[in-house]
């Protein structure tokens, strides 16, 4: 599912027994069992080395090469990176507002992440007060099951410039506004796409945050009410701090989604109009497989990896400290 969370973020609220120390406690036989370990791990190890580790190292090396046809032709040092960051289609900070694929990812991170979390939290808290809560949650969750390709078709249809086809322009027409080319305007296209991304991901945030909100003991809230706290105070002083950990995990998941974002852009706009809606994952695909620039494409892939490394470290750390408690 295109907009579904990348299966990427380890649980941090793991039960204590899931941590490493607990693993040690819950150990197998006293003596290490090399034979069994090798047999059980071999299929995974082979696939991970051949399809993940080796290609990743190869791509890193290739990014320092001219890399035509994917062979190490000529060492060019940081040339590909220098070209990449000098390329206004990748990042252009010289204009206002800035532009380029990397900048579009920044727009996505800022607007998509914050609005998804905001709406998810609001819906989670508000829906908890009605009896049809599960229906509301199911409705906003449906887009999570659907392919980004299908989301793209659904929303291309909503955004269609013809007011007889596109719902949005038909609605604007009823209040006398001329049809807008949502996906054909360089200034609008990214926000139109981000709106689709938000629509696709709010259900995920709602379900996660709803679980977090419900884990707050009712007695705590009730006693605050008895003390005379207003609903607003309860939300900002009690609920919000108590869901801050799930929110940070959610934020990380959404940021990872943005960095890997590809299908939606590819199907809805093909990076256009012009190059206005490109993102880094799209640039990587386009440079490597449409322009045949393997060295340059590798450099883009390495940039994606580098951007994700701090999150990897964060995950590993969180997992290790999680095991202490």
């Amino acid at each position: 599912m295109g907009l579904a969370p990348t299966p990427a973020i380890p649980a941090n609220e793991m039960p204590a027994q899931a941590g490493l120390t607990a693993a040690r406690r819950a150990r197998g036989p006293e003596a290490p069992n090399y034979g069994a370990a090798i047999l059980f791990l071999l299929p995974a190890a082979i696939l991970l080395v051949v399809f993940l580790l080796y290609p990743a190292l190869y791509t890193i090396l290739l990014s320092f090469n001219r890399g035509r046809n994917g062979v190490f032709e000529q060492w060019v040092g940081l040339d590909n990176y220098a070209r990449l960051f000098a390329d206004p289609d990748f990042l252009n900070l010289g204009t206002f507002p800035p532009s380029g694929a990397l900048w579009n990812n920044v727009l996505w991170i800022v607007f998509y992440t914050s609005i998804v979390i905001f709406l998810g939290l609001i819906i989670a808290v508000v829906a908890a007060r009605v009896r049809y809560e599960s229906v509301v949650k199911a409705i906003v969750f449906i887009p999570m099951a659907i392919a980004a390709t299908a989301l793209a078709v659904i929303w291309k249809f909503v955004y269609a410039p013809d007011a007889n086809i596109g719902l949005l322009n038909a609605l604007l027409g009823t209040v006398g506004i001329a049809p807008i080319s949502w996906l054909g305007d360089e200034g609008l296209v990214n926000f139109a796409l981000i709106a689709v991304g938000i629509w696709g991901s709010v259900g995920f945030a709602t379900v996660i945050l709803s679980a977090a909100v419900k884990s707050i003991p009712a007695e705590v809230i009730e006693s605050a009410r008895v003390e005379g706290a207003t609903e607003r105070q309860i939300f900002f002083r009690m609920i919000l701090p108590m869901v801050s950990l799930p929110i940070s995990v959610l934020a990380v998941t959404l940021v990872v989604n943005v960095i890997k974002l590809f299908d939606l852009i590819y199907v809805m706009t093909g990076g256009g109009p012009g190059k206005a809606s490109r993102v880094i994952a799209f640039t990587m695909y386009q440079q490597a497989f449409q322009a045949g620039q393997y060295g340059y494409g590798s450099a883009v892939a390495v940039v994606m990896l580098v951007v994700l490394i701090p999150i990897m470290i964060y995950n590993v750390r969180r997992f290790r400290t999680g095991s202490v408690t």
Partner: protein
Amino acid sequence: MTVLAESMAGSRPRTPAGRLVAALNHWVIHIALGLIGVIWLVPTIGLLVTSFRPRSDIQATGWWDIFNLHLTLENYRQVLEAQGMLQAFVNTVFIAVPSTFLPLAICSLAAYAFSWIKFPFRDTLFLIVIAFLLVPVQVAFIPLLTTATSLVPDLQLTRGYVAVWLAHTAFALPFGIFLLRNFFITLPPDMIEAARMDGASDFRVFSRIVLPVSVPAIAAYGIFQFLWVWNDLLMALVFVQDSSKFPMTRAIQNLLSQYGTEWHLLAAGAFLLMIVPLIVFFSLQRYFVQGLLAGSIK
């Protein structure tokens, strides 16, 4: 323990004015939630209605013109037969089924080793698996395509499904191992120890004890992985090069680039792509949500 929802519903304002405000608040809540329901349902319903409308109607009026509604299955017939969507549907099944069961098998084995077999550097290796979770598929594209073809030109993995199966499987492993290991580790040690005392081998403990009691966790992960590969476009774009083997996501992408405004074909095609995930969602919602939640929060 009672939950927040009940506590909120249970608090009754004491003054008449307070009751009025509460009632008003309640109406605001119902209206806001109704609006959310509309925004989240209408775009999909619009496309669904369109998929059953004749082409001439679609071009004449919007789908919301329900007073002139004529329904037809012609769009589906056309997209399935003339546009090859039937073949693409079959191709998607061919891609998705092995790309679900291979990771399930391989991840269960590895997760068992990480939870119940003692070996050196186990924790370090597991931390590496966690780090691998975030390695983007993009770093594998160029080497897998170019070296694979230059080393063994006759192999032509991308002509068939092997390349896409293996790529999907490899990139599913870190998450699957992580998820299943976190479940396996919660099983009672006594259960495993007792079986070992009786002389059961690791494979026997794995297949007769650990697997059977882990069905819910494995099912949740399996559903997640199945939908992931069913809905994938990027991997198919890179690793399936034979147009007769394209999955539905690619077929729809082609429809869109060839006839960007033929909404009767696009709508029907998109629904063919959505139908299986929607069935899975509505019939297995509990497992489905569990699988997704496990992806980010326990």
